[in-house]
C-alpha cells in the first residue's frame, strides 16, 4: 500500500466534518431508502433493470448506431469516439467555431472522467459549474467527495468563507441565504454563456433521446439558455427502448437520494428553438473510453449495468468513514473502484481496491444487480496475476499451502505468544505490530488446538454421522466452540467426525487475490472432507461455509481447474452452517431446548457472510428466543464489525472506527450479552470490548446453545 494513499486514508478518518456528515447521511439514507421503495418489489424491479442494461451492454455497437441515426434524423449532431482526447478536441472546436467565451455546465461525471474543465480553461474559455455542490468544489479548488453530494465534506462555515471571497462581502453561514447567493451569482453565468455542457442519465437508442435529471433545475437552464448544447454521454448510458426510461427512473432517484423523483427530468429529442428564434445547435458525443472493452470481458460486462445512483457508496461502511477523496479524482466508492480500474488503468485501482472489506452491503442494494464485491475481488486477482504477490504474502501463503508446516507454526505461536498474552488475550504487540492491537486485543493462540483435543472428546456412537469443518479460528483460537458444537449435535443423536487433513478454507488467500493458493487449499479440503462420505459437513464459521458452498467452485473455475469442479459441487451440496443445521434439528424435534427458562436480554450481531451470502438471519434469532432469551435488536445489527479477515490487519485505521461503532451499538441495545455466528466477529468484538472496558459478554451461538439443550 502506497504511503501517500495511507496518508490520505488517515487524513480522511481524522476529518470529523467528513465522517460526521457521511455518517449521519448513511444512517438517514438507510431509513429513507426503504420508505422510498414502499409498495415496490425491489427485486422484481432490479431484475428488469439488470435485464435491460445487460441487453444494452451486449448490443453496444448496434445501439450506438441506432441512437446516432435517430438523433441525427431529429437534427442533432452526433460524434462517436473511443478517445477522450478526441472528445476534448471536438468540444473545443465547436466552441472556437462559434466564438464561445463562456461555458456553463451541469453535473457530468463523464466530463470529470476526461478532465474537461482544465482543458477548456487552458484554452482560454471560462467554465462555470452550475450544480451548487460542484460550484462550491470549484471555488474551493477541490474534487468531489461523493458522486451525488460533491461537497458533503464541507461545513456551512467553510462554504460561507468561500462565498464571501467570491462576492467580496462577509456572509453569514445561514444556509438558505448562502443558496440565494449562489442563485444570484450564477444567474449571469447562465445568461451570458454561449454554450451549455451536460451529461446524460440515460440515452435512448429507439428515439435518439437523452434524459437529464436534476433537483436544482440547473440542467434545464443549461439546456435552455445557451444557443449551443453539448451532451457528453458514456455509451453505458444507452438503453434500447423509450419505455426503459420509466424503469430506470423508478429506481434511480429512490436509490440515489431516497426521492420518488428528482424535481426536474428532461427528455431531449433533437434541437428546440432558442428565445431569439434560432434553432439550438445540439451536439451529442457518444464516448466509449474502454466501455466496449468492458462489455467484451465476461466478468466485467455486468459493471455496465450501473445506473450511477451511488447507493453502493451510501451503504458502504468504509465509504462513510473515508469519503470520496481517497478514491482519486473521479469515480468513488465500490463501483468507482471498478470504473477506475477500467477507465483509468488497472494499476490505478491497486490501493483503492484494498479498501473493500467484502461485507456485501452494496450488492444487496444495487439496482443494476451488480456483484460489486465479486468484481473487486476479480480486480485483486488480476493485479496479483499481473504483478505477483508482495514478498511477505508470498512467504505467508507458502506456509498456508503446506498444512503440516502451517499448523506446526500455529502451535509454535501459542508458545511464543504466551509472554505477550494476559489471560486469553494478546493486548499489546511490540514495535510495528502495535497497530494490530490498537483498540482490539487479539485472542491468544490456544494451548491445545481443536485438532488435538478432538480425540479426547467422548462421543456416543451414533448411526448418523456428520463431518465438522472447523476453520483456522475455531481450530487454533477458539477450540471450545468446536467442543460446544459436538456436545449439541451429540444430544441430537449425531456423531461428529473431524477429518484431520482439513486445512485453511482459502478465504484469506482469495480475498487477497491469491487464487492459486486458494485453489490449492480448496483441493486439499475437498479431498479431506469427501473421504468419509458424510451426510453433512457442518461449519460454525460463516466465512468458511461460504468458501465451501460457493468459493471453492468459483475459485477453481476462475483458474481453470475443472477436474475438481464436480467434487466441489458435491461438497457444496452437503455443507451447511451451524445455525441452519441446529434450527432444522429443533424443528424436527430431534433436539429440544430447555423449556421455561428466563435468560434475560440478548442482542444478535449478523455476520456479513451469514446474512448476505448465505441469507441466514432468522434461524439464530429464533433459536435464541426459543431458548428463553429476550431479543433486543441493536441499531445496524447487520453492519460489518470491521474484521474482514486480514482487513483488520491491513487497514486498522479503518477497521478500528467501524468496530467502535459496532461496540457502541451493542452497548446501546442494553443487552448484557451479544451473540453471533462467526468466530471472526467474536475475535473482533470480544477483543474490542476487552480494550473498551468490557461489561458485555460476547459469545458464539454454539457456546450459548451448548448450555441450553
Amino acid at each position: 500500500m502506497g504511503t501517500k494513499f495511507r496518508e490520505s486514508v488517515q487524513r480522511a478518518v481524522n476529518n470529523a466534518n467528513l465522517t460526521g456528515a457521511l455518517g449521519a447521511f448513511s444512517e438517514a439514507y438507510k431509513v429513507n431508502r426503504i420508505k422510498a421503495y414502499e409498495g415496490i418489489d425491489f427485486e422484481e424491479l432490479r431484475d428488469r433493470i439488470s435485464r435491460l442494461k445487460e441487453y444494452a451492454a451486449s448490443h453496444l455497437v448496434q445501439l450506438c448506431e441506432q441512437f446516432t441515426s435517430n438523433a441525427e434524423a431529429r437534427g442533432a449532431r452526433v460524434f462517436r469516439t473511443s478517445n477522450p482526447e478526441a472528445v476534448r478536441e471536438y468540444i473545443l472546436k465547436v466552441a472556437r467555431d462559434n466564438g464561445v467565451k463562456t461555458v456553463v455546465k451541469s453535473k457530468s461525471m463523464a466530463t470529470e472522467e476526461i478532465h474537461l474543465n482544465p482543458y477548456l480553461e487552458q484554452a482560454g474559455l471560462t467554465v462555470g459549474e452550475s450544480d451548487l455542490g460542484e460550484w462550491i468544489i470549484q471555488l474551493a479548488g477541490q474534487t468531489p467527495s461523493h458522486m451525488v453530494m460533491p461537497a458533503i465534506h464541507l461545513t456551512r462555515e467553510e462554504v460561507s468563507d468561500l462565498f464571501s471571497k467570491e462576492v467580496n462581502e462577509r456572509l453569514s453561514s445561514d444556509i438558505p441565504k448562502l443558496v440565494k447567493v449562489a442563485r444570484d451569482k450564477l444567474r449571469p453565468l447562465f445568461l451570458g454563456a454561449q454554450m451549455g455542457i451536460s451529461g446524460a442519465n440515460i440515452a435512448v437508442a429507439e428515439t435518439g433521446s437523452i434524459v437529464l435529471m436534476t433537483n436544482e433545475g440547473n440542467a434545464r437552464l443549461v439546456t435552455t439558455l445557451p444557443n449551443i448544447h453539448i451532451a457528453l454521454v458514456g455509451i453505458e448510458k444507452l438503453v434500447a427502448a423509450y419505455s426503459d426510461v420509466a424503469t430506470i427512473l423508478k429506481a434511480l432517484p429512490r436509490s440515489a437520494t431516497a426521492q420518488l423523483l428528482t424535481s426536474y427530468v428532461s427528455i431531449i429529442s433533437g434541437p428546440t428553438p432558442n428565445d431569439d428564434g434560432s434553432l439550438k445547435e445540439l451536439h451529442i458525443i457518444l464516448m466509449d473510453n474502454r466501455r466496449s472493452d468492458m462489455a467484451n470481458d465476461p466478468k466485467f460486462r455486468q459493471a455496465l449495468q450501473c445506473i450511477r445512483c451511488g447507493s453502493c457508496l451510501n451503504v458502504c461502511p468504509i465509504f462513510r468513514l473515508v469519503g470520496g477523496h481517497v478514491f482519486g479524482k473521479v469515480y468513488t466508492g465500490g463501483i468507482g473502484t471498478i470504473l477506475t480500474a477500467w477507465f483509468d488503468e488497472l494499476k490505478q485501482s491497486e490501493d483503492i481496491q484494498g479498501l473493500c472489506i467484502q461485507c456485501g452491503a452494496c450488492r444487496d442494494v444495487c439496482p443494476g444487480r451488480i456483484d460489486i464485491p465479486e468484481l473487486i475481488m476479480e480486480i485483486r486477482r488480476r493485479l496479483v496475476q499481473e504483478k505477483g504477490l508482495p514478498l511477505i504474502q508470498q512467504a505467508i501463503y507458502t506456509v498456508v499451502n503446506n498444512r503440516p508446516l502451517f499448523h506446526g507454526m500455529l502451535r509454535a505461536a501459542s508458545l511464543v505468544g504466551r509472554p505477550l498474552s494476559s489471560g486469553r488475550f494478546i493486548r499489546h504487540l511490540p514495535l510495528f505490530l502495535a497497530d494490530l492491537t490498537d483498540g482490539r486485543s487479539l485472542p491468544a493462540i490456544a494451548a491445545k488446538p481443536f485438532r488435538s483435543l478432538y480425540n479426547s472428546i467422548k462421543q456416543p456412537v451414533c448411526r448418523e454421522k456428520v463431518s465438522f469443518y472447523a476453520g483456522c479460528l475455531i481450530d487454533f483460537a477458539y477450540p471450545e466452540m468446536g467442543e460446544a458444537l459436538i456436545s449439541i449435535l451429540n444430544k441430537a443423536g449425531i456423531q461428529v467426525l473431524f477429518p484431520q487433513e482439513q486445512t485453511c478454507c482459502g478465504a484469506p488467500a482469495r480475498y487477497n487475490g491469491a487464487f492459486e493458493v486458494a485453489a490449492s487449499n480448496a483441493i486439499d479440503n475437498i479431498k479431506a472432507l469427501s473421504a468419509d462420505d458424510p451426510q453433512y459437513v457442518v461449519s460454525a464459521c460463516p466465512t468458511c461455509t461460504v468458501a465451501l458452498v460457493h468459493e471453492f467452485i468459483s475459485t477453481l473455475e476462475s483458474i481453470g481447474q475443472m477436474e475438481w469442479i464436480s467434487k466441489a459441487r458435491e461438497l457444496a451440496e452437503k455443507t451447511v452452517d451451524f445455525s441452519s443445521f441446529v434450527k432444522k434439528l429443533v424443528d424436527q424435534g430431534r433436539l429440544s431446548l430447555r423449556e421455561g427458562e428466563e435468560l434475560g436480554a440478548i442482542t444478535y450481531h449478523d455476520s456479513c457472510h451469514l446474512k448476505r451470502t448465505l441469507k441466514v438471519s432468522e434461524q439464530p434469532r429464533e433459536l435464541l428466543c426459543k431458548a428463553g432469551y429476550q431479543l433486543q435488536e441493536m441499531f445496524e445489527c447487520d453492519n460489518c464489525c470491521g474484521m474482514g479477515g486480514s482487513y483488520s490487519l491491513k487497514l486498522p485505521e479503518i477497521s478500528g472506527p467501524i468496530l467502535k461503532r459496532k461496540l457502541k451499538n451493542i452497548r446501546n441495545s442494553g443487552a448484557p450479552v451479544v451473540a453471533m455466528d462467526c468466530p471472526g466477529c467474536v475475535m473482533q468484538i470480544r477483543g474490542g470490548f476487552d480494550q473498551d472496558g468490557g461489561g458485555v459478554v460476547v459469545k458464539h451461538l454454539a457456546e450459548l446453545l451448548a448450555e441450553l439443550v
Binding site: 450544480d131 444567474r187 433537483n215 434545464r220 439546456t223 437520494t257 423523483l261 424535481s263 428546440t272 428565445d275
Partner: protein, 185 residues
C-alpha cells in the same frame, strides 16, 4: 387519483388546488397575483406563457393587472417574480407534472422565476410514468419536461433548501373543464 397526486405533490412542498371551471381558476390566479403585489417593476412582475388555457378565456380581467406580461424573453424571465404556464399531464404516484416543453417560453417562466404557477387539465392525471410515456412521445415533443415540487438542493450540510436555480414555490392549479391532450386526441 387526484387525491393521491395531491398528497404526493404536497409531500414535496408543492401547493395543489382544483377548480371546476377555468373561470374559477382564473379568478383565483388573479387574486393571487394581486395579493402578491404584482407590479410593473423589476422583480415584481409576472409572465404568462402562451398556452391553451389562455386561448380559452376572456383576457379582459388579465389586462387589468399591471405587471402581467405575455411577451417573454430570457431577460424578462430572469427579473420576473411569477411565471405561469400549462402542462398537460400529471403522474399520481410521484406527484409529478409533465408535458411538452419544446416551446422555450414555458421553460423560461417555469425555471427562472421565484413562483411557478402551473395549469393542468384534471383529465391529464395518469397513474404513473409508464402510462405517461405511452402518451407523451419524442415524435411529438422534442423537449419533454417533468416537474416534481420546487427546485431544491441538499448540497450544503445535507440541509434541504428550496429554490436554488429554479422556483421556490410550485403552485399547481387543476381545472376540470380544461381540455388537454387526454381529451381531444
Amino acid at each position: 387519483m387526484y387525491e393521491q397526486f395531491k398528497s404526493k405533490a404536497e409531500a414535496v412542498s408543492a401547493e395543489v388546488f382544483r377548480f371546476e371551471t377555468r373561470y374559477g381558476a382564473l379568478d383565483s390566479i388573479c387574486s393571487f397575483l394581486i395579493a402578491e403585489g404584482v407590479a410593473d417593476s423589476p422583480g415584481c412582475y409576472a409572465l404568462w406563457a402562451a398556452c391553451p388555457f389562455l386561448e380559452g378565456v376572456d383576457r379582459k380581467q388579465l389586462r387589468e393587472i399591471a405587471g402581467l406580461k405575455f411577451d417573454i424573453n430570457r431577460k424578462l424571465a430572469t427579473g420576473a417574480k411569477i411565471g405561469i404556464s400549462q402542462l398537460d399531464w400529471a403522474m399520481a404516484d410521484t406527484g409529478t407534472l409533465a408535458g411538452d416543453s419544446s416551446a422555450i417560453d414555458g421553460r423560461l417562466v417555469s425555471t427562472m422565476t421565484e413562483i411557478h404557477i402551473v395549469l393542468v387539465p384534471t383529465s391529464g392525471i395518469l397513474p404513473d410514468m409508464p402510462t405517461l410515456l405511452e402518451r407523451l412521445q419524442p415524435d411529438s415533443s422534442a423537449y419533454i419536461a417533468m416537474i416534481t415540487g420546487p427546485s431544491r438542493t441538499a448540497d450544503i450540510e445535507r440541509v434541504l433548501t428550496i429554490g436554488v436555480h429554479g422556483p421556490s414555490r410550485l403552485i399547481i392549479v387543476f381545472c376540470d373543464d380544461l381540455e388537454g391532450q387526454a381529451d381531444g386526441n
